[in-house]
């Protein structure tokens, strides 16, 4: 369909489900609990309503996602976003790539890295630490993983310690998960289309 966005962008698209999301009016108590729906909070995205079809997975995934991306210590927030972006570019998840490129740009207060990646692709010129992080995330995201000892050696040379390497593994792997939901269960479409 012509309104589906296929090119990487930092402008976060609307996500349009390919299956029918759960209807809040007929949701079960377990679904309402996992959706955190309260009388004062009835705004739930179509994405989360879609995932509510598998309520047990939704309930465990949200806290796990937040811990991997936001728990303190270890790898910086921006570098976790770069790991997420590497995975999302391999899997061509335009929606996830947009959200996490936008967050990277916000944290870094610079669009330079994500501009280069979206313009020149995975081989874009990056400073050495970003290069090692991005290359590792890309290699780990292939099926089967193409990450090897040389990638880990490059991360160590770039100054990452074991705790930081683990956080990078977790953020890239997490987007192997997120991409297979976002990119499989729906389409990224222009916001105007969604509103109209």
């Amino acid at each position: 369909m012509s309104d589906v966005i296929r090119k990487f962008t930092r402008n976060v698209p609307h996500w349009r489900p390919r299956v029918t999301p759960v209807d809040l009016a007929t949701a079960t108590p377990e679904q309402l609990d996992a959706l955190k729906v309260t009388p004062s909070n009835t705004k739930v995205s179509e994405y989360v309503l879609t995932l509510a079809h598998d309520v047990e997975s939704l309930a465990v995934r949200s806290p796990l996602f937040n811990a991997i991306m936001y728990d303190t210590g270890g790898l910086s927030r921006a570098e976790r976003e770069l790991g997420a972006l590497g995975a999302s570019m391999v899997n061509h998840c335009v929606y996830c790539a947009a959200v996490h490129a936008m967050r990277h740009a916000q944290i870094e207060k610079s669009t330079e890295v994500t501009n280069r990646l979206f313009r020149d692709g995975a081989d874009a010129e990056l400073e050495p630490r970003d290069r090692a992080i991005f290359d590792f995330a890309v290699a780990l995201s292939e099926c089967p993983s193409q990450a090897g000892p040389d990638h880990v050696a490059a991360l160590q040379e770039a100054g990452l310690d074991a705790a930081e390497v683990l956080d990078l593994i977790l953020s890239a792997a997490l987007f192997g998960w997120a991409n297979r939901l976002m990119h499989v269960l729906g389409d990224p479409v222009r916001q105007e289309t969604a509103m109209g």
């Binding site: 299956v19 079809h53 047990e56 997975s57 811990a67 780990l140 993983s145 160590q156 499989v184």
Partner: protein, 159 residues
């Protein structure tokens, strides 16, 4: 101490290594990862996909990722569905043929998944809720397998 989970076991994280210390520092994440495995392999509400089929599909995805020990671990619970644990085997009935075609593509060629892949499942009679259940199983395995692959590489880092 690093928690004992499927991920740490199959990555071979040994006590006293820098990998084990890093895992211990993120213990909560590894515990939640194990809870997520239970949610996709042994949910209370399994929908159309019983535990044996989920185990077979998990083994199949592990095999597609060349994680053969993990594949054997999942396949041990596949019971009557064990043939589907082998990526060379297709589904014997049309709905299972559609399910394994979808699961293989989502696992191994994610970037090329399109709306038609979802439509094919719907045309085979799979309910939308069961399509989401398949995607969650597949997506979780993609994560767990990459955590294992990454952690195994960390085994080579100095303590």
């Amino acid at each position: 101490m690093a928690p004992d989970t499927t991920a740490t076991r199959f990555a071979g994280v040994a006590a006293g290594t820098s990998a084990a210390d890093a895992v211990a520092g993120r213990a909560k994440i590894f515990e939640m990862t194990q809870a997520a495995e239970d949610a996709v392999l042994r949910p209370k509400d399994a929908g159309a996909w019983p535990h044996t089929l989920r185990a077979a599909l998990a083994a199949r995805i592990a095999a597609l990722n060349e994680e053969h020990d993990l594949a054997a671990h999942f396949a041990a619970d596949a019971g009557a569905d064990a043939t589907l644990a082998d990526p060379a085997q297709g589904g014997a009935v049309p709905v299972m043929a559609a399910v394994v075609a979808f699961m293989d593509r989502v696992a191994a060629d994610t970037r090329h998944v399109t709306a038609d892949d979802v439509k094919d499942l719907q045309a085979a009679g799979v309910a939308d809720a069961d399509i989401v259940r398949l995607a969650e199983l597949n997506a979780f395995l993609a994560y767990q397998i990459r955590v294992i692959a990454g952690l195994r590489l960390m085994g080579g880092m100095p303590a």
